[in-house]
């Protein structure tokens, strides 16, 4: 009994730990969303929230409905599998109301260089250039038709 009395201060310290643990559990219960862990290690309700967000991309089928000339040209060239909105940006609003939202034409001098600037990491067969040496600032679209960039006379794009 005496030993218990002389160890009383240790129980106080232990009590402090228990109190801290209870406070931790209370805060945890308050701040962790109820749907956390419903499907995995994330907030389950996030799926519905993300699903409710407006769609920003129209999809190439929507573009091809109106822009048949460009779609035809693209289907015959090396860019056949590049999606329209990969270059033109997300344009669901334009597809919904073409008159109200008019997309800006991309600057080919900047846009093309994003993929076609030469680096050691790209496969050798991929057309890549040093833009400064290749065109000296002249927009790529001056010579290349972006939807089908191969230049027939030159025997294809370099």
């Amino acid at each position: 009994m005496n030993a218990f009395k002389d160890a009383g201060h240790l129980f106080r310290f232990a009590g402090l730990f228990v109190l801290a643990f209870v406070v931790f559990l209370l805060i945890r219960g308050y701040v962790v969303p109820k749907s956390f862990g419903q499907y995995g290690h994330y907030r389950g309700a996030a799926i519905a929230e993300i699903g409710a967000r407006p769609v920003k991309y129209a999809g190439h089928e929507a573009c091809e409905t109106c822009h048949t000339d460009q779609a035809n040209a693209k289907s015959k060239g090396k860019h056949a599998h590049v999606n329209c909105e990969a270059c033109h940006g997300a344009l669901a609003k334009h597809a919904d109301d073409p008159a109200a939202v008019t997309p800006v034409k991309p600057d080919s001098a900047v846009l093309c260089a994003r993929c076609h600037t030469a680096t050691a990491a790209k496969p050798k067969g991929f057309p890549q250039v040093n833009p400064a040496d290749h065109s000296n600032g002249v927009p790529c679209a001056t010579c290349h038709q972006p939807h089908n960039p191969a230049i027939a006379d030159a025997g294809g794009a370099k």
Partner: protein, 392 residues
Amino acid sequence: MTGVEGFMYPNEVGLQWSVLIVLYPFITGLVAGAFILASLERVFHVEAVKPTYRLALLTALAFLIVAPLPLQLHLGHPERSPEMYFTPHSTSAMAMFGYVYLWYLMAVLVFEIWLDYRKDIVLLSQSSKGLLKVMYKVMSLGSDNISPRALHIDEKVGWIVTLIGIPSAFLLHGYVGFIFGSIKANPWWSSPLMPVVFIFSAMVSGIAGVMLIYMATTKLRGRTIDMRCVDTIAMYLFYIFIIDFSLEMLDLIHRIYEADESFRSLDFMVHTQLYIPHIVIQIILGTVTPLVLLFVTQVVKLPEQIRKRIYVISGCLALMGIFAMRWNVVIGGQLFSKSFLGYTTYKMTLVTREGSLVAIGLSILPLFILWALIKLLPPWATEPPTHTAAAD
């Protein structure tokens, strides 16, 4: 894209982990090392280091309080960091480490300091006045039982806590090494030896740190430095330094012999960009020089004054070397490309959230906390008069 040589992938050009991430393992290392030094007296009964026992515990606490700050400053959203505790993922080393940190802080360090100081706290709560009295009352948790039996229980429990504290200190710093060593995508880091190297380098830095703090505080108080104590600490520093250096060399030899696909790239980096911080500062100045100096003190009988100077120089060089080791691990691991075809550079900013001024501030902050802790809980209050009476 300044400072890029050869080819870097776009996400490798700018370093993700800055000098603050260098500071983090350095500070936690000091904590673990200081605690191991304290355990020498408590568990292994090395009586000679007794004058540093309490100081080592307070040093460990001061640095442990600061340890998470570099991480918080590095985070884009520090307010989200508690989520690591609320919803920890079992595959996250950092989340698990968060619990190790809390365990070490509260269940080991604070508990051990409280047990060791309880008698002083109770006596101080009776002798002090005003706000200090209230503080000591709160710290005593309202218990003023300092009967011999109660203190005997404290002693026994304290011993058990220190015993648990040793693997906890190893776990604390082993985890920091684990965080780097387990990144298999980075050949500079990925090594199972990393946690072990980190633990021993932590012990070196912690022991050197406490030795320097002990010498400085004793000098500032105008007391005599207990040479038996610093000689013993220096001896342990020397031995642990040898183990640490051997492990680092073992890792290096293993890498050279294995010579995997990353070797040529890493070897080039060590001979160019990392030459000064790795070869010169870490190995020559920060490891070999203090090892030679400490070796001399072990084999040659030198006068007290010379020994003191050698210990100060060795301690400072050891701390510099361990900091360089952390730098070379953290920064060095981000300087080369995963393509092994190029290198980037790290330029430390001055006045930014992750700049050098903040890093210097965070390095000094634990010393201010230690000063406050010493004021609140004087580590030399119960020193026998023979330690304190003689003037230097």
